[in-house]
Amino acid sequence: MNTIVAELTIFVLAILIGFELISRVPVLLHTPLMSGTNAIHGVVLAGAFLVAASKGDGVTAILGLIAVIFGTANVVGGYVVTDRMLQMFRKRPEGETGGRSER
């Protein structure tokens, strides 16, 4: 019982911090914010590691393996794409127009 109460406390406080933090992010950055937080919920990968590799049978191994693939793609892709976006936000254009992302 103690654990669940402690966890609930953490959950509620984290939500409140979340509201406080996010409401200060300017509209300008809402897309990178969303993809960045998207990467953060990829932290389920930590959970996927645990269930994938704990003692189990064939079913748990397959479920775990897929969860690890999903979670990793979420984390890696999320951070990479957020970084790609954020590096484009700059005050003054340097050099010529037409970005590296034109392909």
Binding site: G18, S35, T37, H41, L50, T60, F70, G71, M88, T97
Partner: protein, 466 residues
């Protein structure tokens, strides 16, 4: 608690702190990129520490899964065009939701075959994680399909869709309660829950039209966050709880902002009113009686070149036409002639929150020229020309003064207050909401009937000649 466990939990605490500090740095574009890296370091710590857990007895699933996932994620993230960012986010969102659901399904299976005996709260968390994660998974897939053009972007509604959705929710909740009471013993109830949740995701997103996607993506984002937090309860893992809660909060705030930007309640968006073709005659019926001033690129270019202040209002049509580079080129050309150039961006100008800002940043428009609705609206009456490209509903004054218009009450960009308006548009057809736009018929409005990309190119070469 053993010393080892204490170290793991302290490392998780550090990771959670880094997530929070990372998001905090997103307050300004100058620090945002470093914030993302701070958050990624937190992630790395959380993941590495987890690998030291002594529950881990077999490594191949982790190694194989990680390599496949990392390659898929990195390649997709490197290749995706900025225009396709909403579907990319939807895809990652679906993966996260799917992972959370799989973790919970795994736990329920273990309980079913007697490998573990979870307590009541842990079972409840597993069931909730399954429900939310699975519906976020299929919902995100449909959202991805709609944005990518694989599934029709038009709302697809069955007769009585609302009742079908309510029925599905009742089934899901019933199965959840049944599975919870029966514990691991009633696996059939759990299977019903999984299937119902997967179907709900589809049934929820199919009836939603393309232009309402910013809300859907934000909502799915908050679902996935919540599902991740629930997995944290299942595994008694603090960093999952904190990470999931942060995302849940972010998704909720963005959902509310988007719904406000459309002046529609969440229920209205989910159960839909806009998107069906208008009843009675088409909105253009009176077109013939109103006069429209059609101009060529040369005339429009003169107006722009001799203006002292120009505000560009880009909409999603600009992104569809892939014309953000042409817009940026025209803007910098005007600036080099001493024109004061600004961009007014509506919150729902793209297909996800802030999408248009990213598209313009990609085209090298400096971010200090990008203004949001509240910042730019007081400035229109001082602008000589407001240029509307690929936008329609978000500049339609009917939202202010026609109470029975479906968009009534939606905050709009007040381009009608500018000294003159230039609209680049292929035809007079109405926007997503099917409401005719009085802007087109104002005396001070010039219509340049051209595709966004071609129109902007013609304007640019014409301005060079002025």
């Amino acid at each position: 608690m053993s010393a080892e466990q204490a170290i793991v939990r302290l490392a998780y605490l550090l990771a959670a702190v880094l997530f929070i500090l990372g998001i905090r740095r997103m307050r300004s574009p100058a620090t945002a990129r470093s914030g993302n890296i701070v958050s990624a370091v937190g992630m790395l710590i959380a993941l590495v520490v987890t690998l030291f857990n002594n529950q881990i007895v077999s490594w191949w699933e982790i190694i194989v899964g990680f390599v496949i996932g990392a390659v898929l994620g990195a390649v997709a993230a490197q290749r995706v065009e900025m225009r396709a960012m909403p579907q990319m986010v939807a895809a990652f969102n679906g993966l996260g939701g799917g992972a959370a659901a799989l973790i919970a399904i795994n736990e329920m299976y273990r309980a079913h075959v007697g490998m573990s005996s979870p307590d009541f709260t842990s079972t409840l968390a597993s069931l909730l994680s399954t429900l939310i994660g699975a519906l976020a998974f299929t919902g995100s897939i449909i959202a991805f399909g709609k944005l990518q053009g694989l599934v029709t972007a038009h709302p697809v509604k069955l007769p009585g869709q609302r009742y079908i959705n309510i029925g599905l929710f009742v089934i899901a909740i019933g199965a959840l309660v049944w599975a919870l009471i029966a514990g691991g013993a009633q696996f059939a109830a759990f299977i019903v829950l999984v299937i119902a949740a997967l179907v709900i995701g589809v049934a929820m997103v199919m009836p939603i039209g393309g232009a309402d996607m910013p809300v859907v993506i934000s909502l799915l984002n908050s679902f996935t966050g919540t599902a991740a937090a629930m997995s944290g309860f299942v595994l008694q893992n603090d960093v999952l709880i904190v990470g999931g809660a942060l995302v849940g909060a972010s998704g909720t705030i963005l959902t509310r902002l988007m719904a406000k930007a459309m002046n529609r309640s969440l229920t209205n968006i989910l159960f839909g009113a806009i998107g069906a073709p208008p009843k009675g005659g088409p909105a253009l019926a009176e077109e013939g009686e109103k006069s429209v001033r059609s101009v060529g690129a040369d005339d429009a270019a003169v107006a722009l070149a001799y203006a002292s202040s120009v505000i560009f209002v880009p909409g999603y049509g600009l992104a569809v036409a892939q014309a953000q580079h042409q817009l940026a080129e025209l803007a910098s050309l005007l600036e080099s002639r001493g024109v004061d150039v600004k961009f007014g961006i509506h919150p729902v100008a793209g297909r996800m929150p802030g999408h248009m800002n990213v598209l313009l940043a990609e085209a090298n428009v400096p971010y200090d020229k990008l203004y949001d609705l509240d910042e730019i609206n007081p400035q229109f009456d001082r602008a000589d020309v407001a240029v509307v490209v690929g936008a329609n509903d978000v500049v339609n004054p009917a939202a202010r003064n026609v109470p029975d218009a479906p968009i009534y009450g939606m905050p709009i960009l007040n381009v009608d207050q500018a000294k003159s308006v230039l609209v680049i548009k292929r035809s007079l057809s109405p926007g997503f909401a099917q409401v005719d736009n009085p802007i087109f018929y104002m005396e001070k409005t010039m219509m340049l009937f051209e595709d966004a990309k071609k129109g902007l190119q013609e304007l640019t070469s014409a301005v060079k000649e002025v």
